[in-house]
Amino acid sequence: MAVDQTNLSYEHPLYATMDKMPGITVATTTVDMLLTWGLKNSLWTFAMATSCCGIEFMHANGNRTDLDQMGSVPRPSPRHADVMVMAGTITVKMAPRILRLWEQMPEPKWCIAMGSCAISGDFYRDMYSVVPGIDTMIPVDVYIPGCPPNGDDLMAGLKRLQEKVEAQRAGRWVEPEGRPETAKAILPALGRVIDRDGTQTERQLRACQSMGLDGNEHRQSDLVAKSAGLLSNLLKLKGR
C-alpha cells in the first residue's frame, strides 16, 4: 500500500548516520515538518480523464473553483505528478494503459477516485466491458462520491488527501478497516478473476495490452511478465 512505499525514503544510509548525531532529532523534526508542509501543499495532479468527470476536472481547474490556490497544478504528464485523479469510467480496453500510466508516476504517489464510475463502475459496473472500480487495479487513497463531483467536492477531496499525507508522514496513519457496512458495499468480486483458467487469462491479457503497432511485438514479452505481477497484486488485494 501507499503507506509502506512512502516510508521507503527513510531507509537512506544518510538518515542512519544522522540518527547517531547528538541533537539532530530536533533539527530533523523541524526539517520534516517543513518537508511535510511542502509536500501536502503542492499535490500536483495528473488527470486520468476518460469521460464526464474529466470535464468537471477542467471546471475545477478553471477560474471559478481554482484548484491552484491549494497548490494543486494539473500536469498532462504522469512523470510530473503526485496524485492521479481517476476521473471517469475505466473500460477493459483502457485498463492496461491506466495501469501503465500509474506505474510511470514517481513515488510517493496517491490516487483519487473521482466520481461513481471510478469508485465502483457506476451503473455500468455489471457491463461486459467496464472495470468495476479503479481500486481493483490500483490502491485508492480518497474516494469522492458524486456523478460527477463538482469543483467544491474535488477540493474537499484534496483537503482530505492532505490530511492523509500529513498523517502518513508523521507515522500516525491507520489503514481503514472493514466495518459492518462492508456487507452493503458494492465490492468487486475478485474471486471470479482469480479462479479462471490461467492460460486463457494470459492470452487475453496479452492481446488486451498489445498496442497493435506493427514492429513492436518485442514488447509482448515484458507484458507477459507484468501480467503475472498484476495477478499477484490482485491476490494481495483479495487478501486485504
Binding site: 455489471d126 457491463m127 466491458s129 481493483t136 478473476v193 479462471r196 487469462t201 487475453q204 491479457l205 488486451c208
Partner: protein, 148 residues
C-alpha cells in the same frame, strides 16, 4: 416519401410494400435500393442498426439502414433486411464511405458480416473478444480476465 421517389421505387422494386414506415426489403435488393436512393438525392448516410431476434425457428437478424435528403423537410427513408442464422449482407461502403466504421461497429456488437467491406475487424472491443455482446444470448456481465 414524395411521388417521384415512390414511382422510381415501384418501378424498380415491385415486390416491396411502399406503405410501411420502415420498408421490408429482401437481402438481394439492399445494395440496389441504396444506389437508387443515392441517385434520387438521398446522399446523407444516417445510420445502420442491426438487431438479434431469437425465435423458436432459430436466430434471425435484422439490419436497418436510414438515408436522408439534406433539404428542407429532411425526408428520410428507412428500410430493413431480415437475415437468417448466418447473417451476411452486402456492404454499402462503395456508395457511402461512412459505412466503414458503422458497419464495423455492427459487426463487432451484433455479428452481422458485411460482404465487400474493406476492413472487417472489430471496432469497439479488443480483437480477441469472444462473442457479440448485443446478441440476446450474451450475458451482459460477462467476465473478462483479469480486468473484470
Amino acid at each position: 416519401m414524395d411521388a417521384t421517389l415512390r414511382e422510381a421505387l415501384a418501378a424498380r422494386f415491385p415486390a416491396v410494400d411502399l406503405d410501411q414506415d420502415v420498408l421490408l426489403v429482401p437481402a438481394a435488393d439492399h445494395y440496389p435500393l441504396a444506389a437508387l436512393l443515392k441517385e434520387q438525392g438521398y446522399t446523407l448516410y444516417v445510420t445502420v442498426a442491426a438487431s438479434h431476434h431469437p425465435g423458436p425457428e432459430g436466430d434471425a437478424f435484422e439490419v436497418a439502414t436510414v438515408l436522408r435528403r439534406p433539404v428542407r423537410g429532411a425526408p428520410s427513408v428507412a428500410w430493413r433486411v431480415v437475415l437468417g442464422a448466418d447473417p451476411h449482407l452486402q456492404s454499402l461502403y462503395p456508395l457511402f464511405p461512412g459505412a466503414d466504421l458503422q458497419e464495423r461497429e455492427q459487426l463487432d456488437l451484433v455479428g452481422v458480416r458485411f460482404d465487400g467491406h474493406p476492413n472487417p475487424v472489430r471496432l469497439m472491443l479488443s480483437e480477441d473478444w469472444v462473442g457479440h455482446p448485443l446478441r440476446k444470448d450474451y450475458a451482459p456481465n460477462m467476465p473478462h480476465a483479469p480486468w473484470r
